[in-house]
Symmetry: C2
Amino acid sequence: MIARRHNRVEYLLGIDGGGTGCRAALADRAGRIIGRGKSGSANIMTDIETARANILSATGQALQEAGLDISATSAISAVLGLAGANVNNNGARLEKLLPFARAAVKSDAAIALQGALGDDDGTTVILGTGSVFITREKGHVRTIGGWGFRVSDLGGGARLGRDLLEEALLTHDGVHPSSALAEKTMAMFGNDPHRIVAFAHDARPNDFGTYAPLVFEYADKGDRLALLLIDRSVKTIEEALDAIMPPEQDRLCLIGGLGPLYTSRLSPKYRARLHPPLGDALSGAVKLAVELFAPEEADHG
Amino acid sequence: MIARRHNRVEYLLGIDGGGTGCRAALADRAGRIIGRGKSGSANIMTDIETARANILSATGQALQEAGLDISATSAISAVLGLAGANVNNNGARLEKLLPFARAAVKSDAAIALQGALGDDDGTTVILGTGSVFITREKGHVRTIGGWGFRVSDLGGGARLGRDLLEEALLTHDGVHPSSALAEKTMAMFGNDPHRIVAFAHDARPNDFGTYAPLVFEYADKGDRLALLLIDRSVKTIEEALDAIMPPEQDRLCLIGGLGPLYTSRLSPKYRARLHPPLGDALSGAVKLAVELFAPEEADHG
């Protein structure tokens, strides 16, 4: 999985890329950040060429911020965390397309785990638009979930937002009792169910996800529907944790945009094991780059 | 809602159109069928021009089967049952585009209700790829559900098929216990979850719906997962019936491809009120055309 073209490691690069954007952090051999950059979508599942261009754009910005010439690109060893890295050989294909000295493409979950837990054992749940569960136990890493909005990603913002719209329509039809949240949701669509239908027809997961924070807001007010939707989501999250997190393991991090909103909603069994993440996914990519490409420095750093 | 161009009614036409195809039945003034035709998609929500062309193609076939010249088109009075008739004025727009003497566009649910119940009071549930609930009580007609795959259509084949794929992935991840149906489903995708993800990414509601009959097949064998999915679907169907069907009403028809499969799964309260449908949606469109455009004949027929 590591494409080698150059033996001398001068710079280390972490990339955190996904459907909504791509962030780069350039570091020296000890892992100290010397430049950052960001650019557009790096979705290797739908468009590997655009992903490559945006990765290089973010990298170029990071080099510039570090006061380095673009020619230093060939002296970079990079770890890239990208959704879909394990699908259809996408990761290996991208590694060959990159102009770095060395490149290792990992899953987005792998760099998030490293960022949140460092080298410790533990479990991380990424709760953003989607959801994915990843655990490390005695060096062995396992991932579940994260199969996408349409058939997975339970507890993620897209599923939660979609659930809200479904319930708003059931309320409109008189099938389920109304609530302040249901009324608020209908009002946001001019109390016209056809406008929800039109929105849903074209909505991408991100679009559904924009309604998720509203559910948490109304849950805090004790809204019946909001609490029902959150309880259902928490149940799916805890079922996945029951399956992946060893009973004796004591480090659990909820990350992603919705992570902090879910922490107070977990049952005591899991709340007791919660730890704040050490760092973000991008910092995890940089840490992995140091460990993989400059291990002698990491030992001393 | 009725476009008039011609006073003399010579032929009556029923059209049953939707996303997968369009059927036409031509009748004489007494409602006796004299010709039939069918053609492609008549989805007025996505492409009103193609819908119009396919409606006229099916009508042309029906005229031909009746031994009539295409010029008889202008002597036709038609009732068309089309999904999305009430959305964005689509029905009224189409009425103006048709070359018939008179045309009335109704919802797909309205012609299905007429076909299933005739002029009696009662409730009809259309359980095909989607789902919609329609009731007639003392002449007053009310519809709920049917807001589409993404945020509604509970109990329909697309939702059921999607649910199955979600459960297959949860089983694969070890979150839910396995079952013969889950194993069968995974095997259909070469036991590769990525193939389910790829399928789901591009799947239209119809595509998800192809997996629904499998759920009923395994429910009949007592499969735990199949029974769970069917029970969940039946619960959503009965919640909608609780909301729409008056307690004293005694005629309930389940129609559509999955209707007959659900009948034995209903709770006794609703099973006791089940009646086989009198006819299909196309026959309902013809009946409505007779009532609307040749009522003096209907009284004697």
